[in-house]
Amino acid sequence: MGLSDLYVALIYAAFLMMGFAAPFVFTLGYMWVDTFYPQFISTLVGQVPSAMIMGIAAIAGYILLDRRSPPRLSFHTILTLIFAGWVTLTLSWAERPDAAWDKWEWAFKVVVFAAFMTVVLRSRVHIEAFLQVFLFAAGVHMMALGTKTMLSGSGYGRNMGIFPTNAGLTESSTLAAVSVAVIPIILYLRAHAILIPKSRFRDLGYLGLIIIAIFSAIGTYARTALVGFLVVGVFLWLQSRRKILFTVCAAALVIGFSAITAATWSERIDTTADYDTEGSALGRILVWEWTLGYVADHPLGGGFNSFLVDRIEFPTTNGQAPLVVYGKAFHNMFFEVLGEHGYPGLAMYVTLLSLSLWYMLSVMRRTRGQPHLLWVHDLAGALMTSLLTIMACGCFVGIAFQATVWYLMTLPVCLNGYLHRVEQLEGGAADQPPWMARPVHQAMPAAARMAR
């Protein structure tokens, strides 16, 4: 047992202990376990069902100790729970039941936890703590790969991440998508964070994290990153208050990064346009075609991991026998849901995503020109950009049930819930529903405010 084993086990134990001081910390702890993967670093944590313990603590902590100002149940949350039920139901007609159960085991938890988040994260501190813990937990993967890429230039096919595994955030395309998608959130935190005191050090730290995130995305050699960069660039430009300065900085960054990235990266990215000759891209198009044909016969989907039954035939031009591949993954989050959970599943999934985007647009409209809600306005913009980025990346990667996608889908619900409460409080006690009559925290003392 090494020192890191013990160290990471202590951090895990600290989450459990601090949860008794403030029960929402259990929820942060569950998300940390799901993002940082302490079980892969510490054999001590690996010996216990770490996620299950933290999950039970989070639910019990909320029900028994943390019922202050419970939020209204949103349509988004209800639909999320219905979706969780539907993906469970599709197990009964799964093409490959064993493989379907394997994926259901983690995917179901992701969906249910997303619904749970909407009742736990209520205040600004809760929402920001969630964002910060997620950022630094995901940061462990980005820092390791990003730093190595900066020092060595990376290399296609070399596993330079923190773990030699290929799942979750350790999978290159997923890490690339997440690295790019967190950039708007880092920019938001740089401007509005309250949990880290404002200082030049904080500014530099967040800017450093952005550079690390960019290098991490580049270091994966995933072409998904290029799509992500384009989307995040366009939406950040649209939201920017200083468009000319943003354009100049973005141009300088693009020129700088293209000068220092290895030639192999450019070669790899250039293959993005060769969709009809490049094996990986053509394979994706073929598997999407297969999915459309499959759901024409099976409109309710084929259960989790239904791609295992596909048969993809790569055409050849030189008269040779076509190359046949079995069990090619969907490589697209929408086709993934369609193939696994049919048209009803896809309709629910797209509705959830659309609702999240609509919430953010609504929040941005309602908070315009209000100084006390400036942070809400900017966070809505950042979350919308991040969600759109991950959706764009998700068109080329099967990340429909990755936790990060669900966090980005659910945080808008929490933010919308926060704004709803503020509006009700400002509207006067007469319009308040019974739960609002419960005492909320008084204004903090001036000294505490100054400490920010």
């Binding site: 813990v133 820092m143 006390h372 903090m444 405010r449």
Partner: protein, 74 residues
């Protein structure tokens, strides 16, 4: 080495944030309305004036005006 440093930075920041979140969860208002915001802003300005006076520095006229206006409103 890089992996270990990444783990340490990540976990230290996470613990710091959780500690601050627990503290602020108890001291900050959960839902900050305009009146709470303006009240806190006035307190902040008054504290700045007080701090400047205690350091025997010249208090900018604008700050004094703002502080007086905030006090009058209350």
């Amino acid at each position: 080495m890089i992996n270990d440093v990444s783990i340490v930075i990540s976990t230290v920041m996470v613990m710091y944030i959780v500690w601050r979140a627990i503290r602020f969860d108890r001291t900050l208002p959960w839902f900050e309305t305009r009146s709470l915001y303006e009240q806190a802003k006035a307190q902040r300005t008054a504290a700045k004036v007080k701090a400047a006076r205690s350091r025997k520095l010249g208090v900018p006229e604008e700050l004094l005006r703002h502080a007086n206006a905030s006090t009058d409103r209350r």
